[in-house]
């Protein structure tokens, strides 16, 4: 299990979406969640790749279930956050907060007023 120091932007979104979805996170629902919250249309492939990568980093755990006729009899692969994943999210949030501290960004000038 490897731990990576930081989360990529997309990884961030996928993890957060999974967090929102709880036990119901799989390819389709994650994609839908991201689109609903950010209005970004992301491809299923990218979601899948990221989910797999996050699982590889140990942030997610997955299991099979939910086969249905609609899916041609194929099962879904659900993903849920592991403690390490929650940790990574929190760490990322903290990092951002610290960077943002004391900033009042003015769109015109390039620096804090």
């Amino acid at each position: 299990m490897t731990t990576s120091a930081s989360l990529g932007e997309f990884e961030h979104l996928v993890l957060l979406a999974a967090a929102h979805l709880g036990e119901d996170a799989y390819g389709v629902t994650v994609q839908r969640e991201i689109r609903a919250r950010t209005a970004r249309a992301v491809s299923l492939g990218a979601v899948y790749a990221t989910l797999a990568r996050l699982e590889g980093k140990g942030y997610l755990r997955s299991w099979e279930g939910g086969a249905s006729d609609k899916r041609g009899g194929r099962s879904k692969r659900f993903f849920v956050l592991r403690p390490a994943g929650i940790q990574a999210l929190r760490a990322a949030r903290q990092t951002l907060d610290r960077m943002w501290a004391g900033l009042e960004l003015d769109a015109r000038s390039g620096h804090s007023s």
Partner: protein, 893 residues
């Protein structure tokens, strides 16, 4: 793994797309992924989206999977593993996407490459299909090398070998006795008006005497051929061609066995010919027992078709024909002097048919080779330019870790994609090209061949050539680029080493293209000028609106004494018809003269054999000259007062006067045609000479005598009818008039004089179309190539341009510099092309008319066209380059 099955009635996502996913993703994830996709697919359908759109979405999602980063993540060897090892189909899709993006990034180049390939393929295939349809395999008869015909020549009186309308029934029987042929048939040509139900058509008709279907070897498509009895009796049964049955009688199968009116007489249709089975373009076949008792030995209106007996060679047949000819000569020469030296020559039917077209066909073959060369050259030029222009991009990707094999493969994929696009365009254009030629064919008065179709194997061959050219020329520059130091490119920012040699190669290619284009343009120019010259020829009479038809009186029904009164009455009646302004009858008329003989001039020393005066001998009614509007020069024309029993009066044309009576007035001189104890005739007039052997031949000497003075000599005469309006509109009333005199008398060979002249020009007109087409295509290709080369050259030298402009050079000077440099290879190529054009002219000599191979106007015109196009093609990109902002250019690295 859960079993997979779709419930009844549920639409399934595209299986091909699913296969792609399975190849792209690892085994583990593929299932889940496919399931997700299937779920969304079903949901979208349920939401009411149209099936097409949902499938499109599915494919988009699948393609989205094919990005390298995604694929790396999907592979089960984990995210950390370097995702370099991918399945082949995955890489192929990647390369295709990459190629597609690259093409869209340089649209003008892509358009030029695709256009070049499409034009080349279409032009080549169209012309080759035409050649196949006309020359190589025009008819579907089996064993065409064994299907033969016999030509004859009468050296004493005419000398020229002909395969058509040259045998009498008696002569046919002489040939029929030959053991070398196992099946044989004689046939004659004519016209018949055919009525089926409401539809009436004028059909070119073949009259058969003998085993027609057995000889040709192709049974009818429907129904049957003539039985022996039907042939012997001359029953009223008919077979019609496939194309007429299909196009004009609606392919109605009930026609077979049904009735049809042929010139008003009821006939039974017994069969439909096989598709494309045409004999000299005849659409109607009738039995015609032309017994020798009905026609004298010198009534030569038939041609013959036969099949060589097994094991017999053409040479053996020729030898046997020689024996027959000598025997006939010995037997009949005394009474018929034209038999002296009579020659019978065998030939395959195919050869005899296409004699006229052979030179054109050879010319077209050459043109095809040229154009394909041009296409390959141009594609090479464009690809050379393209790959070098993208040198930096390639170098960058190489520096970032793309393997050389990978780069090469991607460039190849791009070339392949372009070639295939070009091929697709070529197929489409080729289809339209063939339709176009068919339309031109339809305007000819007699269509000898069925409609052309696109030749499959040739199309495939040209597509393969184009694709191979694309791949080959896509590889060479790619290899060059990759072999050189990629990183060096990035550092120096200059163009890759080898630019100069590349430019040199490009210039060489442009020079070649210019030469080829000029040659083709010149060929086209020669032919166009020939046609124009032909149009300007004065035929010596007024050919417009004159209808001709042939009447052959059966010997068993018309005694010699009854012949002239018949024709006299025909002339009277037809002359009285509304819409007819003049009528005449004659044994022959321009441009188809065939009856000629020697004559003696009173008072001249008897010349030796072969040096005696000769002239075409035309028996005509006195109105002949007025009907054809032939001018009188001296003396008088033939008149009704020249009667049987009176002194023989003849009229000669200018050529006779000039050639045989130089410096003196022929009027009043006496000449004798035929044997020494025949009476002398007096020349009573001289008329203007007509182009009686065709527009492209010098007028031949011709002598005219009134048919009334030689009663019964000719039972076959042509009627010439000058009409006020459309000649064919009067045809019906003419038939009626003839029928009123003799209901059983058929009319055939109905044609206008203009159509007859046009027929002789068929080869030339066809060649013009081909050469102009090719010349245009060649010019277009060369222009496109030049444009590409100059674009590349200016792109390479933007810095230099920037420097020049910054240092004060006028933009026009910069433009002029590039144009001048670009035009050098064009001019050199044009120079070489002029020499090649002269050589082409020599080879095309038989197609040219009043145009010499070194014709200045043609060559100058072609050169101007090429150079002009070249200047424009190089000016545009050069001008664009000169307008560059020097500051921006110089700031670039």
């Amino acid at each position: 793994m859960t079993g997979r099955h779709t419930s009844q009635g549920r639409a399934h996502p595209p299986r091909l797309a699913e296969w792609v996913v399975r190849r792209a993703a690892g085994a583990e994830l593929a299932d889940n992924l496919l399931g997700d996709l299937a779920e969304q697919y079903a949901e979208r359908l349920e939401a009411g989206a149209p099936r097409r759109d949902v499938q499109w979405w599915y494919w988009t999602e699948v393609f989205g999977l094919l990005r390298p980063s995604v694929i790396r993540g999907l592979r089960s060897d984990g995210p950390a593993a370097r995702g370099d090892r991918k399945g082949f189909p995955t890489m192929l899709f990647q390369d295709l996407r990459f190629a597609w993006r690259a093409i869209r990034a340089h649209p003008s180049f892509a358009v030029m490459a695709v256009a070049t390939i499409a034009l080349g393929i279409a032009g080549t295939t169209t012309v080759f299909s035409a050649m196949d349809g006309f020359v190589l395999r025009p008819f579907p008869f089996p064993d065409q090398e064994r299907l033969v015909t016999v030509g004859s020549a009468h050296p004493k009186v005419g000398g020229e070998l002909t395969y058509f309308e040259h045998l009498s029934p008696a002569e046919y029987l002489d040939i029929k006795a030959a053991g070398s042929i196992e099946k044989v048939v004689a046939w004659d040509l004519g016209n018949r008006q055919v009525t089926v139900g409401e539809t009436t058509e004028n059909l070119f008709t073949a009259f058969w005497w003998g085993d027609a279907f057995g000889t040709i070897g192709l049974p009818p498509h429907f129904g049957r051929g003539f039985s022996r009895d039907e042939m012997d009796r001359g029953d009223r049964v008919a077979v019609i061609s496939y194309r007429v049955w299909h196009d004009r009688f609606g392919a109605d199968s009930s026609l077979v066995g049904g009735k049809m009116l042929v010139n008003g007489d009821p006939y039974t249709v017994i069969g439909i010919m096989a598709p494309r089975a045409l004999v000299f373009g005849s659409d109607l076949w009738l039995p015609f027992p032309a017994r020798p008792e009905m026609f004298p030995r010198d009534r030569r209106m038939l041609q013959v078709l036969g099949r060589l007996a097994p094991g017999v060679s053409m040479e053996a047949f020729g030898s046997e024909l020689e024996v027959i000819a000598r025997r006939t000569e010995a037997e009949h020469q005394a009474a018929m002097p034209e038999y002296a030296g009579w020659r019978l020559t065998p030939s395959t039917w195919a050869d005899a048919n296409i004699q006229q077209l052979k030179p054109a066909a050879i010319a077209m073959m050459g043109a095809i080779v040229f154009v394909m060369l041009l296409v390959c050259t141009n594609v090479a030029t464009l690809l050379l330019g393209r790959s070098a222009a993208r040198a930096r991009e390639i170098a960058l990707r190489g520096a970032l870790g793309a393997s050389r094999g990978r780069l090469l493969r991607q460039l190849l994929t791009e070339s392949l994609l372009l070639s295939l696009l070009g091929a697709a365009g070529g197929v489409g254009l080729g289809y339209f090209g063939i339709q176009g030629i068919n339309r031109v064919l339809g305007t000819l008065p007699v269509s000898l061949f069925s409609d052309l179709t696109l030749n499959g194997p040739v199309l495939l061959a040209t597509v393969l050539v184009a694709v191979a050219a694309g791949l080959l020329f896509g590889t060479v520059p790619a290899l060059q680029v990759i072999r050189s130091d990629l990183r060096g490119t990035l550092n120096t920012g200059a163009a890759l080493g080898g630019t100069r040699s590349r430019l040199r190669v490009q210039r060489l290619l442009i020079g070649i293209e210019a030469a080829l284009a000029l040659t083709l343009l010149a060929g086209s120019g020669y032919l166009l000028r020939s046609l124009a010259a032909m149009r300007a020829i004065d035929p010596g009479f007024e050919p417009a609106r004159v209808l001709t038809l042939r009447l052959t009186l059966a010997r068993e029904r018309y005694q010699p004494a009854a012949i002239e009164p018949f024709f006299h009455e025909v002339r009277e009646r037809v002359g009285a018809l509304p819409g007819v302004s003049a009528v005449a009858s004659a044994s022959q008329f321009p441009p188809n003269l065939y009856g000629r003989g020697e004559f003696s001039i009173e008072g001249n020393v008897a010349e030796s054999e072969g040096a005696r005066p000769f002239a075409y001998l035309t028996t005509a009614s006195p109105e002949y000259f007025a009907t054809l509007a032939i001018p009188l020069r001296r003396g008088r024309l033939l008149s009704p007062d020249d009667r049987a029993g009176g002194p023989l009066a003849v009229v000669v044309n200018d050529v006779v006067a000039a050639r045989y009576f130089p410096g003196r007035d022929p009027v009043g001189q006496r000449v004798r045609v035929g044997k020494p104890d025949d009476p002398w005739a007096v020349i009573v007039g001289v008329v203007g000479a007509t182009r009686n052997r065709g527009l492209d031949q010098e007028p031949a000497p011709e002598m005219f005598i009134s048919s009334a003075q030689l009663p019964g000599s000719n039972n076959q005469m042509f009627l010439m009818v000058r009409t006020e309006a459309d000649p064919r509109a009067v045809l019906g009333t003419i038939r009626g008039a003839v029928k009123a005199i003799d209901p059983g008398q058929p009319i055939y060979a109905v044609r206008t004089i203009e159509e007859t002249y046009q027929q002789t020009q068929m080869a030339r007109r066809l060649s013009v179309v081909v050469f102009t087409l090719f010349g245009g295509v060649a010019l277009l290709i060369a222009v496109v190539g030049l444009y590409g080369v100059v674009s590349y050259a200016t792109a390479q030298r933007t810095r230099e341009i920037g420097v020049r402009v910054a240092l004060g050079a006028a933009r026009s000077a910069v433009t002029g510099l590039f144009v001048r440099q670009a035009m050098v290879p064009v001019l050199v190529g044009a120079g070489i092309g002029l020499i090649a054009a002269w050589a082409i002219g020599l080879m095309m000599a038989s197609l040219l008319f009043q145009v010499k191979p070194g014709d200045v106007i043609t060559l100058a015109g072609a050169a101007f066209l090429l150079i002009g196009a070249g200047i424009v093609a190089s000016f545009v990109p050069a001008f664009g380059a000169s307008r560059v902002d020097p500051v921006a250019t110089l700031r670039q690295d």
